[in-house]
């Protein structure tokens, strides 16, 4: 490294660099990869593979409970997982029951379903019921699923872990009606013989905090012995890693990277995979910022008293 007058000037300029240049670099680092459609290979971690396998192990016609425990704030991290999760289940002909321990959760589920649906115009009359595409009938790839038969939304229920506990002995005690039509859940064929938590073949939980995966493990898994897989925000994930070791969790995805690995496994590369390039680029730049900042700091140290940047 040159330490001559020019170098000095450069480093001093770097020390006093305008924040907006950093902002611009980060903005470009994140947005350019979105347009380039680049892809990087990600090594799939064991915990995500476990999650994928536990879904693959279900036979077609199995029923899975999906609990949406997050709000729009965590959408960027969890929504891609939720969308891929839906696609994965639908492709394997697995039925799903949606609920939420967070008030905004079921709304996020609806949002994800709307997004993966491919036909949103037209309707069908069956047995006196008018079924609208995009609402009651969802078309995903070669499959068409129908509300009440292949999936149902039970909505939000207040009470945090107490809701899980109640579902352990009776689902109907926790959710009397479905969220979309407000009808008793017994009127929907999908609920036939589904009485309590242990009747589900798997519970999947998308979680951004409390109540979330910790509660599902402590109440659903430990007490009612139903297997549970989870997707968490990156900030939240370290708290639930210990449950993987003990086998209480049958799979875990953490943050966007977890989502990207899941997309890789299912072969349905979407948002999370595309975001990984942006994500990685941003990381590299943050690391570079730290390196440059320190380099400049050391090169100019002692020459000039540091001012407040």
């Amino acid at each position: 490294m040159s330490n001559g007058p020019f170098g000095q000037k450069l480093f001093q300029a770097l020390l006093r660099i305008d924040r907006r240049i950093i902002f611009l670099v980060i903005f470009l680092a994140l947005s350019i990869p979105i347009f380039l459609g680049l892809r990087i290979d990600i090594t799939v971690t064991q915990e995500v593979r476990l999650f994928y396998n536990s879904v693959e192990a279900l036979s077609s016609g199995s029923r899975v409970l999906l609990s949406f425990d997050y709000d729009p704030g965590s959408e960027p991290e969890l929504q891609p997982m939720a969308e891929t999760g839906f696609r994965h289940l639908i492709k394997n002909h697995i039925k799903f029951i949606i609920m939420g321990l967070w008030p905004q959760g079921p709304m996020q589920a609806n949002k994800a379903l709307t997004r993966i649906n491919e036909v949103d115009e037209g309707f069908l009359v069956d047995n006196g019921d008018t079924l609208y595409f995009g609402r009651d009938l969802l078309v995903v790839g070669p499959d068409t699923i129908r509300y009440g038969i292949d999936f149902i939304n039970l909505g939000f229920q207040a009470g945090n872990e107490l809701v899980i506990q109640r579902m352990g002995s009776s689902i109907r005690a926790a959710f009397a009606n479905d969220a979309r039509y407000g009808r008793p859940i017994d009127q929907f064929p999908i609920m036939n013989g589904l009485n309590k938590l242990s009747d589900f073949d798997l519970v999947i939980n998308w979680s951004a905090g409390y109540p979330g995966t910790v509660e599902w493990v402590q109440f659903a898994v430990d007490r009612f012995h139903v297997p549970c897989g989870a997707g968490n925000t990156a900030v939240q994930a370290p708290q639930v890693y210990p449950y993987l070791d003990t086998g209480q969790l049958s799979g875990l995805m953490g943050g966007m990277k977890g989502g990207a690995e899941y997309e890789q496994l299912t072969g349905m590369r979407a948002k999370a995979t595309m975001s990984m390039v942006s994500q990685t680029a941003a990381h590299i730049f943050v690391v570079l910022f730290i390196v440059i900042g320190n380099l400049a700091y050391f090169m100019t140290r002692g020459r000039k008293k540091e001012g407040r940047a």
Binding site: K257, Q279, H283
Partner: protein, 243 residues
């Protein structure tokens, strides 16, 4: 359909308005900021009414039933029909709430200290217990571990051991114990940090620094994802350039 498209346009313009703050303060940001303050204050104003005041005060007492807004009996209806109902005590909460609003009348504004005292008292009592249990007692439990994880050492694979496994078996517990205890010594206020105490406190502060660095590093990823989410909204949902 119109409202959906219109909504996306509004949302996109507001998104850009907030981001413009990064360049510098400007009228667009000022507009967004004022809108945000007004809308969110109003949002909470409405939500707190429907989620707290209405169910917890008016429903419990039966005022909504009196007004024909609810089918469920409250405390008043039960009491008038001759059954005791403990929810009648919520009348006191109503009175405290009114005392709070009396702040608007400057002469008797001091009466608002009564509800404030109830609030602060319950906070103090509740926090004292919950923090003692979950932060003190259970952390003590987590710290009382053997110096070496003997079972993990026995379970180590003979070949292909990873750094995590090695560390967890031989050094993990030791680091947890030393870090927790010296970190605690750093918070010791009533003795000067000299000698052995000073040495321990110094180790403690290094642990705190690692903690801060690690949490910072860990959070970066999550925060970047948030921005990516907004960018997809702008380029995808709004402009439709990427899908």
């Amino acid at each position: 359909m119109f409202w959906d498209t219109f909504g996306i346009w509004i949302a996109a313009l507001l998104t850009i308005g907030i981001v413009s703050f990064l360049y510098r303060d400007n009228p667009v940001y000022k507009f967004c900021e004022s809108l945000f303050v007004g809308i969110s204050a109003g949002y909470w104003f409405v939500s707190l009414y429907y989620q707290n005041l209405l169910p917890k005060l008016f429903d419990n007492l039966g005022i909504t039933k009196l007004l024909g807004l609810s089918q469920n009996d409250g405390a008043f209806q039960h009491i008038f029909s001759g059954h005791w109902d403990g929810r009648i005590w919520y009348v006191l909460a109503g009175i405290l709430a009114i005392m709070m609003l009396l702040r608007l009348v400057s002469k008797i504004g001091w009466i608002s200290r009564w509800p404030l005292a109830v609030v602060v008292g319950s906070t103090a009592g509740l926090y004292m217990i919950t923090y003692f249990q979950s932060n003190f007692l259970s952390q003590l439990q987590n710290t009382v571990i053997p110096l070496v994880a003997i079972e993990r050492i026995r379970a180590l694979p003979s070949a292909g051991m990873t750094a995590d496994q090695f560390f967890a078996a031989y050094l993990g517990n030791l680091v947890l114990i030393v870090g927790t205890l010296t970190g605690l010594v750093y918070f010791y206020f009533s003795k000067e940090h000299k000698g052995a105490l000073g040495g321990a406190a110094k180790i403690g502060i290094y642990f705190l620094m690692i903690t801060f660095g690690a949490s910072f590093g860990y959070t970066v990823m999550s925060r970047m994802s948030l921005l990516i989410g907004r960018l997809y909204f702008l380029f995808g949902d709004w402009l439709g350039i990427v899908r």
